[in-house]
Symmetry: C2
Subunit: 271 residues, 2 copies
Amino acid sequence: MHPFDETTALDGAPGDPVRHGRTSDAYWTFIGPFGGASAATALRAVLEHPERAGDPLAVTVNFCAPIERGRFAVHVRRARANRSSQHWQVEFRQGDGEEPVLTASIVTAARRESWTHQPATAPALPQPGELPAFDNTRSLAWVAQYGFRFAEGALSIDQAAPEPPNSARSLFWLQDQQARDLDFLSLLAMSDAFFGRIFQVIGRIPPFGTVSMTTYFHAAADELAAHGSAPLAALADARVFHRSFCDQTAELYGRDGQLLATAVQIAYFRA
Amino acid sequence: MHPFDETTALDGAPGDPVRHGRTSDAYWTFIGPFGGASAATALRAVLEHPERAGDPLAVTVNFCAPIERGRFAVHVRRARANRSSQHWQVEFRQGDGEEPVLTASIVTAARRESWTHQPATAPALPQPGELPAFDNTRSLAWVAQYGFRFAEGALSIDQAAPEPPNSARSLFWLQDQQARDLDFLSLLAMSDAFFGRIFQVIGRIPPFGTVSMTTYFHAAADELAAHGSAPLAALADARVFHRSFCDQTAELYGRDGQLLATAVQIAYFRA
């Protein structure tokens, strides 16, 4: 079993209103599981549900509190079902009070053929083989689960405070370290597989945590299935760091420069 | 009373778990209320709640079904309260089955002083007085509630299908038509006060509807209070139109080029 499928697995039957997940050390970060893995676990709860119809379109995940090591309850509710779209709510609960530690809203929809136009163009990147593999073994556990080949904005900490601050932009090839065919679960996780923009901007790692992330999928299941395990061209940037919060924007491109997903985040920092 | 405050008003006491709103013709659009007004109504339910602490930081609104003219129930729940952030869930319900027609997740947080850095720069725009006021009286009701002065990408429909498609980018000054000091409610509504990007890209108005929007606030209450009723520099764009859905990105800048809010949307279209 691929470690990503193991970390996002759920106990219980797919139609149960409450299932259970378990954190895995393989995707551990500072003080909790990798947010992308948690988001994918929430999405899995919806995608496996027998009443789900359509492909995932929009996912918003709010990280309400640190998820402790171990088991957590996954509550799944379909709030609304229309003819061609559905609105789902997911909540992770944990601890003595069974307090929510994560909430998510997930929209699924039929991806019918339509007029197609992509104003966004995939960034120019050297071929993956022409870029060095980032050493992903010397950092947090989750980092080792991904292959990164940076063309721009590789993480470099322990710098003297750069003045002016470094660019927040990173451009790189991203893929599962252990090959796995792309699907909505892994694409969602990869939309969070960026180092905090502030790390590279200030050249060090301050107290930091993502508060909320939203990912839109721009491809249908058949298009993702055709992608296979090739790396994605990944672009991340930030627009503002102010009053203890900062943002992140991301784009993930597949074969032939197709935009597969876009994502935004807002995160807490102390600096 | 300003029409915006009227359209976002709620019956019942601020601490009630269920309050009621009412659609207003003043902010009507094709088949329902202006989404920005609905989003602001959801935010108002949270901001007026006696247990709310902190400024709004992130708002995601899912438009589950058209909201019919008239009254709707507003369910408010605080899912999680931390030392310096809170996670709220809001649901509008309407009709015989009291089915959800809108769901929202809203994060509030203490906006403490911190290191500040804004890589995003406000777009260069002529002074508002140097640009013509868009004729907002010949379209939908909600449009007349806003003043638009376009520097780029003014809506122009009834074009022969442009080939290549027009740019999705618009750049303009945006303000309440009837002066009103900026606050989080109006800033949230303004983050949705863009014409569907596809209208200008294809030069006509196809069947279209926003499915989900996410807005991040990058300023604290004291900063918004200092803005007054001056217009905001507004920038909107899109990256992809594919398989019946398209995206929208937006930035809203205040005095001295401060980035006040960023927003994304995903919308359905048929073309």
